[in-house]
């Protein structure tokens, strides 16, 4: 077990390092002159030279990379050009909204996908099963941002039940929750399409096995067998997809924040692109990629918790 943990942890740290090299390389090595991008074509040579000095661009590449990583480990991502405050402050202010959206989205996804998937499996080859499969095929093809627009059209424009977008802050919790309902639903509906499908096929696989028949024969109710015996044994493929979906969740959160004008990290990254605020973009891309890598690492560890047999092979 210790060996397994050590191997996975070393792999995780190496992947993070490699990701940081890629992010740094794309943002700093590709031909392109950040001061020129920031100041525009009619900047004076003096101004360009001053900004180059301020950005530390006269240092060798390796020194810049090492100091970027070192500072990042100390939660120092430099100063944002456009906001003129530390990037870490900007991230700190916007993190709670993005995390709330992502966690709520994932929670609703899990509830929806597991119930629909298990439900469809238990109604195999009946109308309910067919309906879930049809909806999930459709859900995979519907872009999250379009679904968001449709939800806004229905619930904000036509019925006027919920706000079409924007976020007034946490001081009024009820208003804050109301602003997050449509974004969460949009995020979750698209995510659960894939997951419901995997849950269904994984559950069907388990339901064919002998111990399920034994459990039914020993008098347990259908519902109890499904949730207590089928689901836990169907979890490995489900957890794999959940892990892979973290990448989609990160992307989804960035998109959804922009659709609903929510002032989170996804909105910040787009403001920073328009403002040519490279240190902020670099920090945020690294943060998002690190979240994806960390999620995959956690999934790797979860496998062993769910199915101890995998430890031997790992």
């Amino acid at each position: 077990m210790a060996y397994f943990l050590l191997r996975r942890t070393v792999g995780f740290v190496l992947t993070l390092l490699a990701v940081s090299v890629v992010v740094f390389a794309v943002m700093n090595v590709l031909p392109g002159d950040p001061p020129l991008t920031i100041l525009g074509l009619d900047a004076t040579d003096d101004a360009l030279a001053a900004l180059r000095e301020q950005l530390g661009l006269n240092e060798p590449l390796l020194t810049r990379y090492i100091s970027w990583v070192w500072n990042a480990l100390h939660v120092d991502f430099g100063i944002s050009h456009s906001f003129r405050v530390p990037v870490s402050t900007l991230i700190g202010e916007r993190l709670p909204l993005t995390v709330s959206l992502a966690v709520a989205g994932m929670a609703v996804t899990l509830i929806l996908a597991l119930s629909l998937g298990i439900g469809a499996a238990s109604k195999h080859r009946q109308v309910g099963d067919w309906g879930v499969m049809f909806l999930s095929q459709l859900g995979i093809a519907v872009p999250a941002f379009w679904l968001s627009m449709l939800l806004v059209l229905l619930f904000a424009v036509k019925l006027r039940w919920l706000p079409p977008g924007g976020f007034a802050g946490w001081s009024d919790p009820v208003a804050a929750m109301r602003s997050l309902v449509l974004p969460t639903v949009a995020l979750a509906l698209v995510q659960s399409a894939v997951l419901a499908r995997v849950t269904r096929s994984s559950a069907l696989e388990v339901m064919r096995q002998d111990f399920v028949r034994t459990a039914r024969a020993s008098g347990l109710s259908r519902r109890r067998v499904l949730w207590r015996h089928v689901l836990p044994n169907a979890l490995v493929p489900i957890v794999t997809i959940v892990g892979m979906q973290f990448a989609a969740l990160v992307t989804g959160t960035i998109v959804i924040e922009n659709v609903f004008y929510l002032p989170g990290l996804g909105r910040l990254i787009f403001q920073s692109i328009s403002n040519r605020d490279l240190p902020t973009v670099q920090a945020l891309v690294m943060l998002f990629a690190a979240i994806v890598v960390t999620a995959n690492f956690i999934v790797d560890l979860l496998y062993v918790v769910i199915d101890p047999r995998l430890k031997v092979r790992a």
Binding site: T15, A18, V19, V22, V23, V26, M27, L30, G32, P34, T37, Q137, L138, I140, A141, V142, P143, A144, F145, W146, M149, L150, V152, L153, V157, P164, S201, L204, A247, A248, V250, T251, I254, V255, N258, V259, I269, F270, S272, I273, R276, L278, V281, Q282, V285, F288, A289, V292, V293, N296
Partner: protein, 272 residues
């Protein structure tokens, strides 16, 4: 003759519809797609404008057709570019094995840490947003996908007797990869390419919607939607058509890919 699977037939019909509209737009659209006519803005559907006009009086059907063409071109270039690099890497990994194989696969793992959106964001921050950057970002995420599929299928073929025979006859690994491995894994690669085509269409739409892809006045379903969003109280119908086109295209290529897989590899058929 075996019956074709339903997903293949439905997929083929939808794909023909979209590709047909895209091809037709090369020679004919009802109106010039970028032709503005402010006096005719927000026109309702009519014989003149089948789906009406937008906020600048542009014909919606013509724009949708031009957007189909752009979307198909982006997906085709991105999948071809990323696919050829990925297939080459996968074949190389499988042919040489050892640390080369490990290295390529670790690189592929790394690629999975970057969704297309993150890559497009980095390119847009450095070079400014453009359709070229969107194509590059989509191509980039395709590399690890194809590298994995190719290596997995190629490794199976390498264990077959006729490959051993070719090696015994003195053929070198690269010639074997080209003449014996590639033709035998082509089906798996084509199936993957069809599915990735659907993913690419979805990614292009999202990037263009966010302003990281097609720039005005180029027609794009994603960009049409981002313009329609600001007009939702005024002209909600404009927010419907481009989305439907995206769904038809993505669903079509997705079903076609699933269907092709069921035909070429019946063992993988999911329904039992």
């Amino acid at each position: 003759m075996r019956r074709l699977p339903a997903n293949f037939i439905i997929g083929a019909i939808l794909v023909t519809l979209v590709v047909g509209a895209a091809a037709l737009s090369l020679v004919w659209t009802p109106h010039e797609a970028t032709q503005m006519n402010i006096r005719d803005k927000f026109a309702p559907p009519s014989a003149e404008h089948w789906l009406g006009t937008d906020q600048l009086g542009r014909d919606v059907v013509s724009q949708l057709m031009a957007a189909a063409r752009n979307s198909m071109s982006v997906a085709l270039i991105a999948v071809l570019l990323g696919g050829s690099i990925g297939v080459a890497l996968g074949l190389l990994a499988s042919a040489i094995g050892g640390w080369v194989e490990d290295g390529v696969m670790r690189l592929a793992d790394l690629g999975f840490a970057f969704p297309a959106l993150l890559f497009a964001i980095m390119l847009a921050a450095v070079f400014g947003p453009s359709l070229t950057n969107a194509v590059l970002a989509i191509a980039f995420i395709n590399i690890p996908v194809f590298a994995r599929v190719t290596r997995g299928s190629a490794n199976q073929v390498w264990t077959l007797d006729y490959v051993s025979a070719a090696r015994a006859a003195g053929m070198n690994r690269f010639a074997i990869s080209r003449d014996h491995i590639l033709p035998n894994i082509a089906a798996a690669i084509i199936v993957q390419a069809t599915i990735e085509f659907a993913v690419a269409i979805l990614a292009e739409a999202a990037l263009s919607y966010l302003g990281l892809g097609a720039q005005p006045p180029a027609a794009s379903w994603g960009r049409m939607l981002s313009e329609a969003q600001t007009l939702m109280y005024l002209a909600p119908q404009l927010a419907i058509y481009p989305g439907l086109c995206i769904v038809i295209a993505v669903l079509g290529f997705g079903l076609l890919g699933d269907g092709l897989r069921d035909i070429t590899d019946p063992r993988l058929t999911r329904e039992r």
